[in-house]
Amino acid sequence: MSKKIINSIVVVMVPVALYLFFLILRPGSFGKVNTVYIIFTQSFITCMIAWGMQYLAKMGEFDLALGAEMILDSIVAALLCAKIGFAGIIAGCLLSAFVCGIVKGVLYRIMRIPIMILTIALVYLLGACGGLITNSAALTIPYEYTFLGRAPGNIIVFLLTGAVMYILSDRSVYGANVNAVAGSESISHNNGISVEKTKIRSLFLSSMFAGVTAIVQLSHGSGVTPSVGLDSIQNIMQPIMSVFIGFVMAQYINIVFSIFVGSVLMSIISNGITALNWSSAIYNVVVGAILLLIMAYMNVAKIYSRKHEEKIGALKNMKEMGARET
C-alpha cells in the first residue's frame, strides 16, 4: 500500500518538476493559481482523446483519422446546432462519431489492413467530406450553447468521460479483453477471446471518445474550419504523445491517471512556451525531443530489465552451484 503511494507521488512529481522549472523561469505567470487551473482545463481535451486512443495503442495500432473525424463531428454538430440548438451539438458530434466508428470498423473487417494505413486513406476522405458539407466555410456556434466548453461544464464532461474510461479499462469485460490481446494475441485467441472483435470495438470506441471530446472542443473554441489533406493528423499529435507518456507511467499508477498526467505535461510545455514567448519553432523541437526521450527510455529500460533478469537468473544458478563470479 505504502509503495503504491510512493509510486503515485513519484509520478506526480514529474509534472510538478516541469512546472517548477517554468515557475523559476517565469514566476510572474506560473506563480498564479489561475495558470494551474488553465493548465488543467486545457489538458482535458488532449486527455479525453488520448483515453480513447489508448485501447488501440495498447494493441499496437494507431488511428490517424481521429483528427479528421473530430473536425467532421464538429461540422455536423455546428450545422445541426443552427437548426435545433444545443441538442444539435450533442447529437451532431455523437451521431457523426458513431457513423465514423461504424465505417472504420466495417472497412477494417473487410480489408484487414494495418489500421494506420487504412486511416491515412480515411483522413483524405473525411477531410473532403467536411469541406464539401461546409464549402470550406468556418462554422460557429452561438455563445449560449457553449457552456460545455468552460467550467463547470467541461469539468463535468471530463469527469464523466474519465469515469467511463475507468470503467471500460479497469472494470469491463472489454477492457480485460484489450489487456489480454495486448499481452498475447495467440493466448487470448486460445482462451476464446476474439482479437478482431476487440480491435473493431476499440476502433469504434476511439471514435466515440473523439466524438465526446469534439463536443467540448467545439464548445471551447466555438468554431470549426474544415481541414485539407493530411493536416488534421497534426491535431492529434499531443494526444498520441500523452498516450506514450501514459504507458510509461502506467507501471506506477492507473492508466486513467497516467494518461492524464501525460496530457498535463503537454499542457505545461505549451503554456510554458507561451509564457516565455519562445518561438513556436521551439515547441515542435521540444515536443519531438520529449517523445524520443520517452521512447528511448522505455526501450532501454526494457532491454536493461531483460538483461537484469538474465543476470539474476545466472547469479542464482551460480550461487546454487557454488561458483564464484568471474
Binding site: 489492413i113 486513406a121 483524405y124 476522405l125 489533406g229 519531438g288
Partner: protein, 316 residues
C-alpha cells in the same frame, strides 16, 4: 486446381499495378482530350515527379524491410534549406551540404530505430517534428533563395540523367546486391534473417542513411525547381511516398515479393493523377476524394488477394 488459382492470383498481383497505371493513363488521355499526351505535358509530369521518383526509389529498400520514414519530407526541406544557404558560397558545396544533412538525418533515424529499437513510425514522426521546428528556425527570415547560378542546373537533360542513373543504380542494388536481398529477407522473416547472418541493425541503419542521402539529393533539386526553400518545403512527401509505393503494388509489410518497379509505377500513377485532375479542372475536394477512393480501392484489392494467397500458403 488450387495451385492454378494461386498462380492466377499471383499473376494478377504482379500485373495489377500495370493495369492501374494503364487505366489512369488512358482514362486521363481520353478525358482530357489528349492533353495528357503532349510532349510538353509528359515532360512536366516527369519534372513534377522527379523528387518523388528519387525518394520512392530509396523508400523501396525501407519498405521492403517493413520500415517507414515519416521524416523524409522534413529532411528534404532541411537539406533544401541548407543547400540554399550554402549555394551563395559555392554550388558544388551546396550539393555536398545537402547530401551531408540528409546523411546525418538518416543516421539519426537509423540509430533511433535500428539501435535503440524505437518503433520506426514513432521515431521518424518525432524526427519530423524536430526537423520542421529547426527548419522554421533556419527559415526565420522567410524563404531562403538559391544562388542565381543554380538555375542553370534546372536542366531536363541533367535531371533525366540523374534520375535514370539513380534509379538504375538503386535497381541494381535492390535486385542483385546482397544488401537488397537482405532488406527483403529482413522484411519477410526477421528471426530467420538474423539466424542466416543478416545484421538487422546494420541493414536498417544503411536503409535510413540511404533514404536520408536521397532526401538530400531530392532537397537539392527541389530548391532548384522552386528557387527557394521555406518552412514547408517537402510537405507531406512522406505520405505521398507510401501512397505511391502501395499504388505501385508494394506490400505494406515488405518482404520477398517487393519489387523495385513498384516505386516507379506508383510515382507515375500519382503524377498522372495529380496532373490529370488539374487538366480536368477538378476542385480541391473532388481531388482529395478521388485520391482517397483510389487509394482505398487499390489497398483493398491487393490486400484481399494477398491475404488469400498467404492463407493458402500457410497450410503447407
Amino acid at each position: 486446381m488450387k495451385k492454378n488459382n494461386g498462380k492466377g492470383m499471383e499473376l494478377f498481383i504482379n500485373i495489377f499495378p500495370f493495369i492501374s497505371l494503364a487505366v489512369v493513363f488512358v482514362g486521363f488521355v481520353v478525358l482530357s482530350g489528349g492533353r495528357t499526351l503532349t510532349l510538353a505535358n509528359c515532360r512536366k509530369i516527369f519534372e513534377q515527379s522527379f523528387s518523388l521518383l528519387l525518394v520512392g526509389g530509396a523508400a523501396v529498400f525501407l519498405l521492403a524491410q517493413n520500415c517507414l520514414d515519416m521524416s523524409v519530407g522534413a529532411a528534404i526541406g532541411m537539406a533544401g534549406a541548407v543547400a540554399a544557404l550554402v549555394s551563395k558560397t559555392s554550388i558544388p558545396l551546396a550539393l555536398l551540404a545537402a547530401l551531408g544533412v540528409g546523411l546525418l538525418i538518416g543516421a539519426v533515424n537509423g540509430f533511433l530505430h535500428g539501435v535503440l529499437g524505437i518503433n520506426a513510425m514513432i521515431a521518424t514522426l518525432a524526427m519530423q517534428f524536430i526537423l520542421r521546428g529547426l527548419l522554421l528556425i533556419v527559415c526565420k527570415s522567410g524563404t531562403l533563395g538559391i544562388a542565381a547560378g543554380m538555375y542553370d542546373l534546372d536542366h531536363i537533360g541533367l535531371k533525366a540523367g540523374v534520375c535514370i542513373a539513380f534509379l538504375f543504380t538503386a535497381w541494381l542494388f535492390f535486385r542483385f546486391h546482397s544488401y537488397g536481398k537482405k532488406c527483403k529477407a529482413a522484411g519477410a522473416g526477421e528471426a530467420s534473417a538474423i539466424q542466416s547472418g543478416v545484421n538487422i541493425a546494420e541493414v536498417k541503419i544503411i536503409g535510413y542513411v540511404f533514404m536520408g542521402i536521397t532526401a538530400g539529393l531530392a532537397g537539392f533539386f527541389t530548391v532548384i525547381r522552386t528557387g527557394a526553400a521555406m518552412y514547408n518545403t517537402g510537405n507531406m512527401v512522406e505520405f505521398d511516398t507510401v501512397i505511391a509505393l502501395i499504388l505501385g503494388g508494394m506490400s505494406i509489410n515488405g518482404g520477398a515479393d517487393s519489387k523495385f518497379r513498384s516505386s516507379v509505377i506508383g510515382v507515375l500513377i500519382l503524377g498522372i493523377l495529380n496532373n490529370g485532375m488539374v487538366l480536368l479542372g477538378l476542385g480541391t475536394y473532388p481531388q482529395l476524394i478521388t485520391k482517397g477512393v483510389i487509394f482505398i480501392f487499390v489497398l483493398a484489392t491487393t490486400f484481399t488477394i494477398r491475404n488469400k494467397l498467404n492463407s493458402g500458403k500457410k497450410l503447407a
